[in-house]
């Protein structure tokens, strides 16, 4: 068959959002690939220049529907660096807990999407069922299920509700059993292994050079995690390990995310144990000095999230720059895709965990 360009997207079941993967295929083998994004571009960074600092927090939630807590937290962390605000210890513990709960929720959504990509609706429904528990916990905490508006500059909005620790412990105990179920359904399935192993190879050098971050980078065997190597909140106070896989393929990226969910449970348990009563919020300044800059980077569920902010002398930012992890990872997609078959596209792109809200901003 002659070579032809194939537009996978913007309306395509593989895309999980609104983007377009243009691939050149020879028969079913891909010889070129070109991701096209921008369908969801809202001018987020420009809008924030006309909003007050506090008004930006709920907007930051909307950057990614799957991991909204980590984005509003990243914004608050950046503003704290800009304004040099020190957050009370209890707020830091609470933030660490909700961030890890958010990571589990986001990874569960990724696993569900991977299930439909590979044609197993069961693997879609089981993680979604367990994600509901984490959404319930979040709802109990801050009243919202997806866009939380919970972190504040200088702390968090409210203290934890009654029975917070009991509920979290119960959910985690239940969830860890279920995690074994997923592994029985995926890892022990020969077909799953056949689909995921030895596709989407991304070497460690390429991954570092192309700016791939987060679980996808660790799947390529690079031992780097912002939570450990540039600690924020309470990650340097708890005992946990960074999950790294050496095989550099789609299966390694899958394994890293699965292990991270276990590790997140571990972190949450420790945080719950060590959380002490105290203040949850300090009052931040209302304005930021003109020309002063601040930045922060965190380990988003999808990679390294980064924000860079410049003060304007009033209560609005002069410039707020967002670095989205998937924005860079998707630019590395051709490296992972070329040479494989069309049928491997869902496995490869599914293992990357796309989120278009943050990519297009």
């Amino acid at each position: 068959m002659a070579e032809m360009w194939l537009n996978m997207g913007p309306q395509h079941p593989m895309t999980h959002g609104l983007w377009n993967l243009r691939v050149k295929v020879d028969g079913e083998t891909m010889t070129e690939a070109e991701p096209v994004i921008g369908y969801l571009h809202r001018g987020w960074e420009k809008i924030t220049e006309n909003r007050k600092f506090t008004q930006i927090i709920p907007m930051a939630d909307r950057l990614c529907y799957g991991a909204s807590m980590s984005w509003s937290h990243l914004y608050c962390l950046t503003m704290e660096n800009l304004m040099e605000v020190e957050v009370p210890e209890r707020a830091k513990w609470i933030r660490t807990i909700v961030l890890e709960a958010q990571r589990i929720g986001s990874h569960l959504m990724w696993l569900a999407a991977l299930g439909t990509d590979l044609g197993s609706y069961t693997v879609f429904l089981y993680p979604v069922r367990e994600r509901e528990l984490f959404l319930d916990l979040m709802q109990n905490l801050c009243g919202a299920r997806m866009t939380y508006n919970y972190p504040r500059i200088g702390g968090v909005r409210n203290d934890v509700p009654a029975n917070f620790e009991r509920d979290f412990t119960r959910v985690l105990n239940h969830f860890e059993k279920r995690l074994t179920d997923y592994e029985a359904l995926c890892d022990q399935s020969t077909i799953f292994r056949m689909r995921m192993e030895d596709v989407g190879y991304l070497s460690a050098e390429k991954a570092k050079n192309l700016g791939v971050t987060g679980p996808n980078l660790r799947g390529s065997g690079v031992d780097y995690d912002v939570r450990r190597d540039d600690p924020y909140e309470m990650y340097d106070q708890v005992d946990w390990k960074v999950c790294v896989e050496k095989t550099c393929d789609a299966y390694a990226r899958y394994r890293v995310k699965m292990d991270e969910m276990r590790e997140s449970c571990n972190i949450i348990r420790q945080c719950i144990k060590r959380m002490k009563p105290g203040a949850i919020r300090v009052k931040p300044p209302r304005t930021a000095p003109k020309g002063k800059t601040g930045w922060a980077h965190v380990e988003d569920p999808r990679g390294e999230g980064f924000m860079y902010v410049i003060g304007n002398g009033d209560d609005r930012p002069y410039r707020l720059k967002v670095r989205s992890p998937i924005f860079v990872t998707v630019s590395a997609a051709p490296e992972m895709l070329v040479g494989y078959k069309i049928a491997d596209v869902p496995a490869i792109m599914g293992s990357v965990d796309m989120c278009l809200g943050e990519t297009d901003r």
Binding site: I37, G38, H41, G43, E45, K46, I47, E49, N50, K206, K208, N209, L210, G211, V212, T213, V222, Y224, R228, D229, D230, P231, D236, Q237, W295, H297, E304, F306, Y308, I310, Y318, R319, K321, R323, F327, V328, S331, A332, D360, R361
Partner: protein, 160 residues
């Protein structure tokens, strides 16, 4: 509890800052350096030599971010690079000032592929030209857009 952030055999930000200051005495100004942070103002002529040096000799493997800033009153543009070293666990912030009427800077995409889309987006939004970039085309805006929407003289909400 001991600080986990420091790599065992790595160099701290202060050491790296001294190294860079010795290598590029005139064109690079180190504004601040802590154990895991490095802030520098870089002349645009020295950007690519500095980055090559950082990549080859100081183990900076990863471009975290490349972003533009439009300083309308000062009549200048800025490109802000954040470059991370996985080995040393140091993040460097390099700021390059450009004249606003002719914003041009050499591309660092040949060094780090991760800067590719960041530079493309910065051109898309600010019109800062990255010389040597492989594909400087519209990324987030539709092809054929004639304005650079993130510049400060672009009025938000106006019809393009």
């Amino acid at each position: 509890m001991e600080r986990i952030g420091l790599a065992p055999g790595g160099k701290t930000g202060e050491v790296l800052a001294q190294d860079i200051a010795q290598k590029f005495p005139q064109l690079v100004t180190i504004t601040k350096a802590t154990h895991n942070r490095l802030y520098a103002k870089v002349d645009k002529a020295a950007l690519v030599p500095l980055c090559s040096y950082m990549k080859d000799n100081l183990d900076f493997e990863h471009v975290t971010c490349v972003g533009g800033v439009d300083w309308l009153e000062e009549k200048k543009m800025q490109v802000v690079y954040h470059i991370t070293s996985y080995a040393n666990k140091v993040t460097a912030e390099l700021v390059v000032d450009l004249p606003r009427d002719q914003p041009e800077v050499d591309s660092i995409t040949p060094l780090w592929g991760g800067a590719n889309w960041h530079e493309r987006e910065t051109w898309d939004m600010f019109g800062i030209v990255f010389v040597g970039h492989p594909k400087l085309e519209r990324l987030l805006n539709p092809a054929g857009t004639e304005v650079f929407p993130f510049r400060k003289d672009f009025v938000s909400g106006r019809r393009v």
